[in-house]
Subunit: 160 residues, 2 copies
C-alpha cells in the first residue's frame, strides 16, 4: 500500500515511519510522543514549546522538552533556531516530503514556511556540496532563510 505515493505522505504512513525511526533508536512510540508528532503535523510552521503546550491536552513542559529532544535525536523532528528566545520544532522534511525554508520576522519572531523552485534548490544544493567537500564537512542539511519583517509588524510600525 501507498507504494505509489510521490511527494505527499499520509498520516498513517507518517506515524509508521516515526515508529520505525524510534525503534532504530531503541525508543518507544509512547502516546505523549505521538501527540507531539500530531501537533507538529497539524501546524503549518515550526512551533515553540509554549505553543505545543497550549495546543495539547495533557502534555507537560518537561516531557515536551524531553521528547522533542528525543525525537530530534531520532531524526523525527528538527529544531529551528532564530534570534528570539524560543526554540521551535517541526517535523523532519524527509518525513513530510515537503522541503521548505523559513521567513523569520525579526520584530515578532514569527516563523513561516515557504519554498523555492526546484531549479534554484538544485543549484544551491550542488554549490553547497561543492563547498562542503572542499572543506571536509559532511553535509547533514542546509538552511536558507529569509530574515525580515512580516506584514503585520510592517504595518504596525508604519505610524506616519
Amino acid at each position: 500500500m501507498s507504494s505509489m505515493s510521490s511527494t505527499s505522505v499520509d498520516a498513517s504512513d507518517l506515524h509508521a515511519n516515526v515508529a520505525l525511526r524510534l525503534r532504530d533508536d531503541d525508543q518507544r512510540y509512547t502516546s505523549g510522543r505521538r501527540e507531539l508528532v500530531d501537533l507538529l503535523v497539524g501546524a503549518d510552521r515550526p512551533l515553540t514549546v509554549a505553543e505545543v503546550l497550549e495546543r495539547s491536552d495533557g502534555l507537560t513542559q518537561s516531557s515536551a522538552y524531553r521528547n522533542l529532544n528525543l525525537l530530534e535525536r531520532a531524526g523525527v523532528v528538527l529544531r529551528v533556531v532564530t534570534d528570539d528566545e524560543f526554540g521551535r520544532f517541526e517535523l523532519a522534511e524527509d518525513l513530510t516530503g515537503h522541503h521548505h525554508h523559513h521567513l523569520i520576522c525579526t520584530s515578532c519572531g514569527l516563523v513561516e514556511d515557504f519554498s523555492v523552485p526546484d531549479s534554484i534548490e538544485d543549484a544551491v544544493d550542488a554549490a553547497l556540496h561543492r563547498v562542503a567537500s572542499r572543506a571536509g564537512f559532511s553535509v547533514d542539511h542546509h538552511r536558507m532563510d529569509l530574515i525580515g519583517t512580516c506584514p503585520a509588524c510592517r504595518s504596525r510600525s508604519t505610524a506616519s
Copy 2:
C-alpha cells in the same frame, strides 16, 4: 586614499563607517566598542562572547553583551544563531564587503565562513525577493547555511 577600493574595505574606513552608524543611532564610539569591533575584524568567523572575552584585554562580560547588542541595533554587528547554547557575533557584511555563509558543525558547534559563486547568490536572491514580496515580508537579509559535521569531529567519530 582608498577611494578606489571596490570589494574590500580597509580598517580605517571600517571604523569610520562604524562611527557613522553609531552616530546615526545616537550612540558613542567608546573604546570598549572599538575593541569589540577590532576583535571581530580580526576573526575569520563569528565569535561567542566567551571567545571575545578571552581575546580581549579589559572587556567585561556585561559590557560585551550590552555593546554587542547595541552594535547589532546600530547595524554594525550581526548575531549568528546555531543550535548550540551560545550566540555568536560577526561584523555586518555591508561593512566588510564580504558576503558569506556558514558551515555549522552540529557536533562541536564550530562555525566557519564560506561563500558561493555570484551566479548562485544572485539566483537565490532573486528567488527570495520574489517569495518575500508575495508574502508581504520586507527582506532584511537572507542566510544560507550548511549544517553538518566538521573534519575534526568526523575523524573523532570514525573509530572503526
